[in-house]
Amino acid sequence: MTAPRDKLGRPVVVVTGMGIMTSLGAGKADNWSKLVAGESGIRTITRFPIDGLKTTMAGTVDFVSVDPFSSTALSERMAEIVTEEALEQAGIGAKGDFPGPLFLAVAPVEVEWPQRCELGRAVGKQDINYDDLLRISGGGKYSAYHHRFMFGSVATHLAEAFGTKGSPISLSTACASGATSIQLGVEAIRRGETDAALCVATDATVNPEALVRFSLLSALSTQNNPPQAASRPFSKNRDGFVMAEGAGALVLESYEAATARGAKILGVIAGCGELTDSFHRTRSSPDGKPIIGCMKKTLADAGMEPGQIDHINAHGTATPENDKMEFNTTSAVFGELAQKIPVTSNKSMVGHTISAAGAVEAIFSLLTLEHQRIPPTINYDNPDPTILFDVVGNKARDARVAAVMSNSFGFGGQNASLILTREPA
């Protein structure tokens, strides 16, 4: 038998392991059962005081604890847990010896307020500036904070814990980061550099400053009560996204390597595409051309026609602009099919897991392929009449799904799409 190649002669890339964590819970089984039941993971924030905030809810992961707490430490722990789940399912390599590189989507890292306040208290005077902080930062007392707040720290930890090979890549393409991590893995396998890649995405940035930053950009929903109803993709009364935490890990392998070792194939990454929008820092080009180009590039990469896509796992943030733009651009690519293909937004339930979203939603798309059941878009009581998607509203839907497109769009003009299928084309 010849090595299975795709239509462009490249190695077919398959998924053999997945791990996931969201505000709904840990693991595929728990997440999937809650997702198809239409449960929301969005709740009022209890991790820190919410006084003075316009948005007081989020999809936090409160069932994992790290000490001392920092968003970076939590994102690292979450990444570790989902990677363990993915590796156990894949059964690849040996413990602490993964036979390929790591591509990690992770939020940008910086010193956080608890640590900054700790320094401030150590200064021991009433007027504090950065010179005071500098005077007390050295001498080894805070050396752990150097390691913690290196941009590469999470990837370094994962690479050492799981024995991935080579230089681990930490990447950020904003809200498209998770999709980019998968794309980098796919490309490395297609180029023949490796037979396997570990693609991980994690985000645990529900902290006061991150919330305030998005709030000041008017990006967040302020429909705080009840929190479960805040995220309203494709609804007329949507008013922004809901920040959330989550992590996803995928073991990618060439079809040839996976079948040679008798691994169970969970799905195929049939196509990836990305295209930059140079219009504005936070807004899409009004003509939607970059997003349209991104979807078309992804279809071309998969060697597929729009008619072969059975379901769209939308970016669907529930910001007024995104959802409208997503419908318009999808219509430009899919024509009338845009109103017939079932569309859903997982963010209605798990919120927007930012850097992790692309991977989290790719995993939900693969679970949709496995179960032949599309999870609902909840809070869909008041459809936006200008968005004519066939939204899988409020109740899960059984459907024959052989190919899913998953879209991710982010600040900085980042657009990325994936096409996932059950079997090699």
Partner: protein, 402 residues
């Protein structure tokens, strides 16, 4: 196994056809080259005393970022990078070339997180004076943070700003992770062009070393050079790095694509390799550098090494022991002349390697320890070494185009 993106037989040759530099020594290739030839170093021992930094030589941002509104949306690290990226596009002769810019792939190595020091100091001072209401921090941040500051802090917004200001419409990926992110950016861009996934790419990074928030971060690990400047190799008993401000961008291009548009190469980028040494035992890092060295294609020409050694320990001593095994190669440490520019140091090293090859000479040594020796004649092969102050090792081979 190390990640290896060496050009393989049958794969396309990748040329460096554009270089953009804005550094503490000046802007543009001629100014930087002249400073290197004259062994000029721009170091500030007073402004951030006791810490030593290499400040950016002032540039007129208007010439590459014409809209003031764009400049206001960025913090210094992004302005430096957007500026240097524009210089690289100019250097490659593709500035404003819509057909090429619409497809160019971008891989940027970035940090980010530039703080508003006044906001931070204000919060800490208020807390020290007894502010402790539950929503105190929230209220201060809601009222004091500029809404656009977030965008000036986000790592991927360096690439975003480059795309907006210079009209780039291909792909855009941002790698983080300190020094080795610069090596990985070059490695992935090279691999994509060599394999035919991409024709042309803009690769690089930028860094603002004149930041007290960054000094605090590195002071946690006692990494900052204090009091007095010394060449990188002469810091053994006075270890540390002096942060530097710089933007360094490269245009990488397949030979066929460059020839079709009549572009001339500075040099070719033959190979980039990177790894993560565990650095648990003395010798671990030197062994990884030796391994990377062995992964590079065989060197048969007149060679040299451009090192991104930081001056921090124990990494610099490990690198010195690796270099001792290759003492016949003249070495230059960019950290001495430019300071430590973190994510930017590796692209800067590639840029200087390509420049040296194209100008037919390695720039002179600048060292009091004898580690750097004179080189006679024109270099045809230069190995760029980038070992992180804490983690991550990268290496590249830059060669003359035959």
């Amino acid at each position: 196994m190390t990640e290896n993106s060496a050009t393989k037989p049958g794969q396309t040759e990748v040329w460096i056809t554009g270089i953009g530099l804005a550094t503490s020594l000046g802007e543009g290739l001629d100014a930087n080259w002249a400073a290197l030839e004259e062994r000029r170093i721009n170091v500030d021992e007073k402004g951030f005393a006791p810490y030593v930094v290499h400040p950016l030589m002032p540039v007129s941002f208007d010439s590459q970022i014409p809209k003031k509104g764009d400049q206001r949306q960025m913090e210094a690290w992004q302005r430096i990078g957007t500026y240097a990226a524009g210089l690289a596009l100019d250097s490659a002769g593709i500035k404003g070339n819509k057909d090429i810019l619409a497809k160019i792939d971008m891989v940027v190595a970035a940090g980010g997180g530039e703080r508003d020091l006044n906001v931070d100091s204000g919060v800490l001072t208020a807390e020290a004076r007894g502010a402790n209401a539950p929503g105190f921090l929230n209220e201060r941040l809601m009222s004091d943070l500029r809404p656009t500051l977030f965008l000036a802090q986000l790592s991927n917004l360096l690439a975003g700003n480059i795309a907006i200001v210079h009209g780039l419409g291909g792909t855009s990926r941002t790698f983080m992770g300190e020094e080795v992110a610069g090596a990985d950016a070059a490695r992935i861009a090279l691999a994509r062009i060599a394999s035919g996934e991409s024709d042309i790419a803009l690769v690089g990074g930028s860094h603002n070393g004149e930041r007290k928030d960054l000094l605090v971060l590195y002071e946690f690990g006692d990494f900052n050079l204090r009091d007095k400047f010394a060449p990188v190799w002469a810091r053994k008993d006075h270890a540390g790095f002096a942060l530097g401000s710089a933007g360094a961008f490269l245009v990488l291009e397949s030979r066929a694509h460059a020839e079709a548009r009549g572009a001339k190469p500075f040099a070719k980028l033959t190979s980039v390799v990177a790894d993560l040494a565990r650095r648990k035992q003395p010798g671990d890092m030197a062994a990884t550098l030796e391994l990377l060295w062995s992964k590079l294609p065989k060197r048969e020409g007149k060679g040299a090494i451009i090192s991104g050694a930081t001056g921090a320990e124990p990494a610099t001593s490990e690198e010195r022991s690796f270099l001792k095994a290759h003492a016949d190669f003249p070495v230059r440490a960019t950290g001495t002349m430019f300071g430590h520019t973190m994510e930017t140091q590796f692209p800067l090293g590639i840029a200087l390697a390509a420049l040296s090859i194209s100008r037919g000479a390695l720039f002179p040594p600048n060292d009091s320890t004898g580690t750097e020796i004179e080189m006679q004649g024109a270099p045809t092969q230069i190995v760029v070494v980038g070992a992180g102050h804490w983690r991550g090792e990268g290496m590249a081979l830059v060669e003359a185009v035959s």
